[in-house]
């Protein structure tokens, strides 16, 4: 698509959407939101950018293959699940830091699980969409 309006808008929308996706990610757990939705919003930001500026531009912007995010995210999620086992609690029990941190709120292992999901979702959905649109 080659419209000036979308091209210009996507430049401003990309950081806004990414910021919104992080907001949704952090809002999760007790309120609607979380890693999965956040990841989808973030990947939509990149897809919109690819619509407006073409796939090569977006891939240059990302600098790495989105597939690389999958093992990183999986590792973070897995470690956040294993972490409570060190305190002899069952796998994936929520472990919380006692006092909350400003902006982020209370910090727990569930947040790291969600961050992992967030990365996996971005990696997987971008890989799927890029692969489908790359083939002629």
């Amino acid at each position: 698509m080659n419209t000036v309006i979308l091209k210009t808008a996507s430049k401003y929308l990309l950081p806004l959407l990414l910021l919104f996706s992080v907001f949704v990610l952090l809002r999760g757990h007790y309120l609607p939101g979380g890693g999965f939705v956040g990841g989808l919003i973030a990947s939509i930001a990149f897809v919109l950018h690819a619509f407006a500026n073409g796939l090569p531009d977006t891939q240059r912007l990302l600098r790495m293959h989105p597939g690389f995010l999958m093992p990183v995210g999986l590792m973070i999620s897995l470690l956040s699940g294993i972490f409570p086992m060190l305190f002899s609690k069952p796998f994936m029990t929520g472990v919380w830091k006692s006092d909350p941190i400003p902006v982020i709120g209370s910090l727990g292992s569930a947040l790291f699980f969600d961050i992992g999901v967030y990365l996996v979702v971005i990696g997987a959905s971008l890989t799927i969409i890029f692969t489908i649109s790359e083939t002629k």
Binding site: G67, F68, M70, P71, L74, M75, L78, G81, I82, M85, S88, K89, P90, F91, M92, T93, G94
Partner: protein
């Protein structure tokens, strides 16, 4: 004290898969790391299996949410043994793959996917609620879809279309069954459902759910009228892939049938009759199908269907002896089926073809290797004292004493037909004079392999053959475990108590005012 070791057979393959994904573009490192990962999983599984053989049932409530509200992992002796055998088979296949899978497939994620497949298998064996069983099934089928299509040859894609369609259909039917069950019972935890279903008056709807589960699991385990996808797809991927498929994927369906039906539905005589009819028909049709085939892998594919019938027959009769036979056959079959598909891969490397008319002369050229192959193929038939003999003996004995003469006859007939099919393969591949086929001759790669590769290809076959011989010659050890498993299957209270310890105080009559 929380038994963390219960979920290690799930976590270790996941960890190895993640590590392997970091080495995405380095196939050489992946081969080594994959074998190490499977080795660690095998050790963890052995530890878990040893613990479960004492008769204790372990459960882990993930996230510390107590059952029936959270996600439960349960390991009884059946799960422990199956996790051990799945990890052993996967370890063998992983060594075989390290030597035989080309860089083309390895660079598209063959090794991580193999780890995900093992994670799914171990997950289904340890899952304590029915929706998680569904999720683990999906992990298995997604991984198997990738494994069956990697390489993208014409036959592979055609086989994959059939395999994918019927597996997706089976998942939808399974999910429908879950919906119906949740609608009437309001619970998903197997132990909780077992308590609730035996108290429920709603037999009609429960049987509807039971039949949906039977069809869903039946497609996955390839029992009689639902097996057509299996011989159309299992002979298309590389030998290592068809080995793990043939050895383990249909067995997960059988495990799910045993677990879900023994806990929830088996009290109904109608369900048991259905099992017996399907078992008899699977045994005969599979064995008859095997005789007519010219491709060795198709012969073995049809034999899978026939031998699934033996296990279903044991479940249908539901006496202690019959269940012992069924689970013993399950254990023997995992090892032997994985092994015969690996052997078919070696035969392809030696002769360049899977078709019986192009083979021949193997015994003359490789006498020692042929003897190993003979041991495996004849334990598939059930020649005494090899491993297939003992479970058949239990099944025959129980079917005779319970007057299930159809099963008695079907077992004898199916074993005889299996013998014919295997003897046919043996004569054509090993004793016949070698056939000179130009196209096949070009594909022979055995003489180009360096000794270490030959060793790595034969090592997994030797490992699995040793395990088969152990089952055959030390059958009393295995049969003790099978007796424990059969008793645990018949007496659900141990399972229920392990998952929900509070239930016991509720049903104690002294506590009721």
């Amino acid at each position: 004290m929380i038994p963390h070791f219960t979920i290690l057979p799930i976590l270790l393959p996941l960890l190895s898969a993640v590590v392997l994904m970091f080495f995405w573009s380095k196939p050489r490192n992946q081969r080594v790391l994959s074998v190490i990962g499977h080795g660690l999983t095998l050790m963890a599984s052995y530890y878990l299996a040893q613990k479960t053989f004492t008769g204790e049932i372990f459960s882990v409530q993930a996230g510390n949410w107590s059952a029936p509200f959270g996600i439960t992992f349960v390991a009884d002796a059946l799960s422990g043994m199956l996790v051990l055998l799945a990890s052993l088979a996967a370890f063998a296949v992983s060594i075989f793959s390290a030597a035989s899978i080309g860089n083309g497939r390895a660079s598209f994620g063959y090794f991580p996917i193999l780890q995900f497949l093992l994670m799914g298998l171990n997950g289904s064996f340890l899952a304590g609620d029915i929706f998680n069983l569904y999720v683990w099934f999906e992990v298995i089928i997604i991984s198997s879809f990738v494994l069956i299509t990697l390489g993208g040859e014409k036959a592979q894609l055609e086989g994959a279309v059939k395999y994918v369609t019927l597996n997706l259909l089976a998942s939808v039917i399974f999910l429908t069954g879950i919906a119906v069950l949740y609608g009437i019972m309001g619970s998903l935890n197997l132990a909780d459902l077992a308590v609730k279903i035996s108290a429920s008056p709603d037999k009609g709807l429960i049987n509807t759910a039971a039949i949906l589960f039977l069809v869903g699991f039946g497609i996955k385990s390839a029992i009689f009228p639902m097996y057509f996808w299996l011989p159309a797809s299992y002979h298309t991927p590389p030998a290592a892939v068809s080995a793990i498929f043939g050895g383990l994927l249909t067995k997960v369906g059988v495990y799910a049938l045993i677990r879900v039906f023994s806990l929830l539905f088996i009290e109904d005589p109608f369900i048991r009759d259905v099992f017996i009819v399907l078992a008899v028909l699977s045994m005969i049709t599979g064995a008859v199908g095997a005789i007519g085939q010219q491709n060795i892998r198709k012969v073995f594919s049809y034999l899978i269907i026939s031998h699934i019938g033996f296990m279903i027959a044991g479940l249908g009769m539901y006496s202690t002896l019959a269940l012992m036979g069924a689970v013993f056959y399950l254990f023997h079959d995992i090892l032997v089926k994985t092994n015969v598909f690996l052997i078919s891969g070696v035969i392809f490397k030696m002769r360049g073809s899977f078709r019986l008319e192009n083979l021949g002369g193997l015994y003359n050229k490789f006498p020692l290797i042929s003897i190993v192959f003979a041991i495996v193929m004849f334990s598939l038939v059930g020649t005494p004292p090899l491993s297939g003999f003992w479970p058949k003996l239990y099944l025959l004995q129980s079917s005779f004493t319970e007057g299930e003469l159809w099963i008695f006859g079907a077992i004898l007939l199916a074993s005889f037909l299996t013998l014919i099919a295997i003897v046919k393969v043996w004569l054509a591949a090993f004793w016949k004079k070698p056939v000179e086929n130009k196209i096949a001759m070009e594909r022979i790669v055995w003489h180009q392999l360096i000794p270490i590769e030959k060793f790595l290809i034969l090592l997994p076959i030797l490992i699995l053959t040793t395990a088969t011989l152990y089952i055959g010659f030390y059958a009393e050890n295995i049969s003790d475990i099978c007796k424990l498993i059969a008793e645990q299957i018949q007496d659900k209270s141990g399972y229920i108590e392990a998952v929900m310890p509070q239930i016991e105080t509720n049903i104690n009559p002294e506590n009721i005012p």
